[in-house]
Every structure is written in structure tokens, then in C-alpha cells.
């Protein structure tokens, strides 16, 4: 099967999981959620931009936006959530110009975050005074929400904001000594922690337009994991980051296709299927790319 046919077949299979309102859940049978629906929009834009599912998914996402600009995480949980930049980025990429995207940007730039000063170095060995973005409002900054916020704000041309620069500083500060990122604690009690795929991929995407030694070490680590990543979610994120940040010609399509075929449907979440499709999208025009 050629790549185009395979992609179309995979898209059709994924679209079979859509709720009647055009949204997606994390797993079949669950309530619709913002993260998989936002990533669905981006996957469709990468492969089949004219599909009417883009507009229905965007409408569902837009309905998740709160008056304060933040987006809720799901159809059943209305609090301000870390999914805001993903939803807003999807709407932005889909051409939904207007107040919703800008309102989300202002909300993210003003999002409360907690910082610590004078942390004993042996405890975390990181600069806990750098804000970044938290998972939950007014908590401390973590790698993934910081990276998601940066990707969105850079994508809409707000990469020069001081909050984004602080986010970049947080990511560099939280990088693991051997390359890559985890959830956000590089060293605990004097011991280095382990990198993991998803935070590493997201941080690479957030810093894609400002590469340095930290990003190169992370990319090297990520590429060293090729062939070892097992789940479609991690594999999808790894493929996205490798495609966008890796050397020209980096292509994990065969890995993604093999995983799609090998992992039974019940062990592959809807989110995993979406990420696989994002993982095989070309670098040029990739919705998650902040440069180029």
C-alpha cells in the first residue's frame, strides 16, 4: 500500500471514532476531550484540510472556550485547563481568526503561576524562580504545559513576549544532564532523573526555532529511542519532533505505520491514532511547527 493510500485509510478509520458533534475522546466510549479534538484538527489540516470534519471539530473546540479565554479540558470538565494552547493553536491553524485565538493568547500570557526562590540546590538543582506554565492554575511551571504554551504563542507571532522567553529559559533550565526532558524535575535530591518521550518531543517543538546544544542533546536522545518506543502516543509525538526538528529527511513514517498495524485497536487510544497521523505529516506546513 502506498503512503497516500495508507494515510487515507488511517484517516477514515480515525474519523470513524468521531462523535456526532465532530469531537474526539481520548478512548472510544469516553466523553469528548479538548486535547484529542485539537490534535485531530491539526492532523486533518496536515492531510486533508478540506474535510468537513475540520469545521465541526473547530466548532466543538470553540464551544469549549470560557469567557476568560481559557479552554476547558473536556465536555464534562469546565475549569480553565492546560489544553488551552492546543485548542487555540488548532483554531488558529484552521483559520479561525478573531477574538477566540487572541483571547486565549492573552489568557495564557496572564496565566497565574507559582514560583519558588532560594530553593536548596541539592533538592531540585533547578531554578525554581522561572515561571513557565503550570498544569493547574497557580501551580508551578512544568515542561509540557510550558512547551504547549510556547508553541501556540510562537505560532501566532507572540514569541517575543517576556513570558515566552521565560518559558524558554525554564525549558533549558529543566533539561536533563544527559539530554531530553521529563515532566520537569531534572535532578531530585542530587540524583538525575530520566528523560521521557512526550516532554522531550514537546520541548523540542517549543524550541524548534532557537536550536542550541540543549536541543541537540535532546534530539540525539530522542533519536536514540527510535525502535524502542512502544505506544502510539509516544511514537507519534517522537515522530512529530523528529520530523520538524531533526535533520532533513528524517522520517519515522515506517515506524508509525508499523505501530499502527501492530498495536491492536483496544490498546491504541484515539489520541494515539491522531498522533500517529501527525507523526507522518511532512515538515513543510506542519501545524505544530513554529518555524519556517
Amino acid at each position: 500500500m502506498d503512503a497516500a493510500t495508507w494515510t487515507n485509510t488511517a484517516l477514515e478509520e480515525l474519523l470513524g471514532s468521531l462523535a456526532v458533534d465532530g469531537s474526539l475522546p481520548y478512548e472510544r466510549g469516553w466523553s469528548s476531550a479538548t486535547e484529542p479534538t485539537a490534535l485531530l484538527v491539526m492532523a486533518l489540516l496536515a492531510h486533508r484540510a478540506a474535510d468537513p470534519a475540520v469545521q465541526s471539530a473547530c466548532a466543538w473546540l470553540a464551544a469549549r472556550q470560557r469567557a476568560d479565554g481559557f479552554f476547558a479540558a473536556s465536555a464534562t470538565h469546565g475549569d480553565r485547563s492546560w489544553t488551552t494552547p492546543l485548542a487555540a493553536l488548532a483554531l488558529h491553524r484552521a483559520g479561525a481568526a478573531g477574538p477566540s485565538v487572541q483571547t486565549a493568547a492573552e489568557a495564557m500570557l496572564a496565566a497565574p503561576v507559582h514560583t519558588f526562590v532560594n530553593t536548596t540546590p541539592w533538592l531540585y538543582a533547578t531554578d525554581t524562580s522561572i515561571p513557565g506554565w503550570p498544569w493547574t492554575m497557580a501551580d508551578v511551571g512544568f515542561v509540557e504545559p510550558t512547551a504547549m504554551a510556547m508553541i501556540f504563542l510562537k505560532a501566532i507571532g507572540r514569541g517575543g513576549e517576556s513570558r515566552v522567553r521565560q518559558g524558554a529559559a525554564l525549558l533549558r533550565n529543566r533539561a536533563l544532564p544527559g539530554g531530553g526532558w521529563n515532566y520537569g524535575e531534572a535532578v531530585v535530591l542530587g540524583e538525575p532523573m530520566y528523560p521521557t518521550i512526550v516532554p522531550t518531543a514537546l520541548a523540542l517543538l517549543a524550541l524548534a526555532d532557537e536550536p542550541d546544544g540543549t536541543t541537540q542533546a535532546a534530539l540525539d536522545w530522542l533519536r536514540s529511542q527510535r525502535g524502542r518506543v512502544r505506544s502510539p502516543v509516544s511514537l507519534g509525538w517522537a515522530a512529530v519532533a523528529a520530523t520538524i526538528c531533526g535533520p532533513d529527511g528524517e522520517d519515522w513514517t515506517t515506524d508509525v505505520q508499523a505501530a499502527w498495524e501492530a498495536v491492536p485497536m483496544h490498546r491504541c487510544s484515539v489520541l494515539g491514532r491522531v498522533l500517529c497521523l501527525l507523526g507522518i505529516a511532512p515538515r513543510t506546513g506542519h501545524p505544530l511547527a513554529v518555524a519556517g
Binding site: 485547563s81 501551580d139 490498546r267
Partner: protein, 340 residues
């Protein structure tokens, strides 16, 4: 019939509410009482008596199943006949360097089989890993995915599952008045806490009560559910006990984790399962096996007399005696005062 968080307080809810004011007051003095150098640590079991079962086991399939069935015979779990059982396992992070940081898949399968033999209509294996969002990467990496398939069992990622707001019935975490639980936990008839027997560099020990963290939604509380850590990890454990506690515990101590737990540290063969329906009694017993004084662990001391006993004299030990299986776990240097 599905149970609610109210049901899971085991009929002691009135007592819990009456004791909550005491707990709030006690929390302020707990740290001082547990400081290194204190001659003793004050706590009261409040008249509670309970029991805990210790079973010798290896990861051999028949050994595990036999041990778990023996434990269930010694301390009966709730009736599971025709019901949905949720095994809340501990898949905290992807294991690296052969560190035994997750509930062993063999123990999970044996427990599932034991509950099926008791008539459970459905057994679900579930967790919301603390340190990484992609639960399936862990499930696949430790070989659990294939093993679950072979036994026709399903895994549920509690971090991204549908969620429900539940009032925080404890109140120790101040402004955090609403907790968001994964709905599969609320919809299960019987919840079994199946942690790894581990030391924990902040909590002291990570056992059945601490394992409740993974029942809460990552969508709402993030990873690694930092809201609870910064407010006070021990208070969080007690609040979770007030709000929704597991009905039974099976602690995988066949090979535990000592030192810098919950994800660094090294394996230690303890060769036991610790089981029972009273979580403080089970955790206190496991702590003693690990060479940790239960009353020196803040959350265990705070749970004493509210949810059950932690005093050795108030816990009937079934199966093996503690002395026969005691295997002191190495603690972090800053936790030397926990040893005993």
C-alpha cells in the same frame, strides 16, 4: 450496583466527620512530634482493632495465585460476585535500569484471576501514572499489555478517563475543596489498591494509602498531581482517605524498592504480599516489614484512630508473623528517623 464515595467510608463517616477537627489540630503538631530526636511519637488508635495478612510469595504464577487466594481467605474482601472489580495498580513511571518501581504484572494477573474465581463479573486494571502522561508506554514496556490481552483483561488510564467532581471530605488541603476522580473508580463496585512496596523520598513509604493518588484525574490535577504535593503530601493522603478509599489492599512486596523511591532506588527481595481490608493496618504492617516505624510516617500517624489502627498490638497478624519476614529497606539519609 455502583458504589459511591460515600459508601467507601465503610460506615464510619459520622466518626470521620467528628474527628476531622481533631485531625486539623493534630496536623499542626505532627511535624514537631516526628522530628529526629523526639523520644516518642504521639498517636492513638482510638480503640480500633483490625488485622493484616502476610503471605510469602515469589513471582512464580502458581505461588502468587496461591498466596493471594490464601490471603483473601484469611481476610475476606467485600463480596465481588457478579460485580466490577477495579485493581488500582501502581505504574508510576517507565521502569529504567531494571528498577522494580511498578506493581509486578504477574501479581496483577494473579489478583485478577483470584477475583474472577470469586465470581467477579469484570476485572479492570487501572492507574493514572504520576510521572508521565502516556500510561500505555508503561503498560507496553513492562509487558503488561500482552499479558492482559492473553487473560482478556482491560487497562484503563485513569489520568485521561472521564472524571467526576467529588467534594474533598477531608479538608486538610485548605482551599482544595473539590477533587476530580476518574469515573471508572467511582463506577467500580470494589476497588483494590495494589501498590508496590516502596520507600518514598518525600512520604517515607509508598503503600496502599499513598496509591490513592493515581485515582485522581490528570486532566484536572495535572502530572505529577503537584497540587497535592505542594499543599502537603501527607495531608493529601489523609484527605483522599476521607474522600474515597479502596476497599481492599494487596501490596506487592515480593520484590520491593528501597532507597530513593518512588522511581530511583534499588530492588530488594522481601518475598511477601501484605493484604487486608483496613488500609492503615495493612500499611503499618508493611512498614514494619520494611523496618519503618509506622508512627514516624506523618500520614500513617494521622490516619491512626480515624481509619484504623497502626499500633502493632491492635493489628492481628495473620499468615506469617512480621518477625519472620522483616527485611529492613534502606532509607534516604534524611529519613533516618523513620527506621525502627
Amino acid at each position: 450496583m455502583n458504589r459511591t464515595f460515600m459508601d467507601r467510608t465503610h460506615g464510619h463517616r459520622d466518626a470521620l466527620i467528628r474527628r476531622r477537627d481533631f485531625l486539623k489540630a493534630a496536623a499542626g503538631t505532627a511535624a514537631a512530634a516526628a522530628m529526629p530526636g523526639c523520644a516518642g511519637v504521639l498517636y492513638s488508635d482510638g480503640g480500633w482493632r483490625s488485622e493484616a495478612a502476610i503471605l510469602r510469595a515469589s513471582y512464580d504464577e502458581s505461588s502468587l495465585l496461591g498466596a493471594i487466594e490464601a490471603g483473601l481467605d484469611l481476610i475476606e474482601p467485600p463480596d465481588v460476585s457478579g460485580k466490577r472489580v477495579l485493581l488500582k495498580v501502581n505504574l508510576v513511571d517507565l521502569p529504567r535500569d531494571n528498577r522494580p518501581i511498578v506493581t509486578d504484572p504477574a501479581a496483577i494477573l494473579a489478583a485478577a484471576e483470584a477475583f474472577r474465581r470469586r465470581g467477579a463479573a469484570e476485572v479492570i486494571v487501572a492507574d493514572g501514572p504520576a510521572l508521565q502522561r502516556d500510561a500505555w508506554e508503561i503498560v507496553e514496556a513492562v509487558g503488561l499489555a500482552r499479558m492482559l490481552d492473553e487473560q482478556n483483561l482491560t487497562f484503563v488510564d485513569l489520568s485521561t478517563a472521564d472524571l467526576a467532581a467529588v467534594p474533598n471530605a477531608g479538608g486538610l488541603m485548605g482551599d482544595l475543596r473539590t477533587l476530580y476522580y476518574a469515573r471508572p473508580v467511582l463506577e467500580a463496585d470494589v476497588v483494590v489498591s495494589m501498590p508496590k512496596m516502596k520507600t518514598h523520598h518525600w512520604a517515607g513509604v509508598s503503600l496502599a494509602m499513598k496509591n490513592h493518588f493515581g485515582m485522581l484525574s490528570g486532566l484536572a490535577h495535572g502530572w505529577p498531581r503537584n497540587q497535592f504535593h505542594v499543599r502537603n503530601l501527607h495531608h493529601a493522603v489523609v484527605d483522599f482517605m476521607h474522600t474515597l478509599q479502596a476497599d481492599y489492599a494487596i501490596i506487592d512486596g515480593v520484590v520491593g524498592l528501597e532507597g530513593d523511591g518512588p522511581v530511583r532506588g534499588t530492588g530488594i527481595e522481601a518475598g511477601v504480599l501484605v493484604m487486608g481490608s483496613n488500609l492503615p493496618a495493612v500499611d503499618a504492617t508493611a512498614a514494619r516489614i520494611m523496618g519503618v516505624r509506622p508512627e514516624a510516617v506523618d500520614y500513617l500517624r494521622m490516619a491512626a484512630g480515624v481509619f484504623g489502627p497502626i499500633g502493632e498490638a491492635n493489628i492481628t497478624q495473620l499468615g506469617e508473623p512480621i518477625a519472620a519476614v522483616r527485611k529492613p529497606f534502606r532509607l534516604m539519609p534524611h529519613q533516618w528517623s523513620l527506621a525502627g
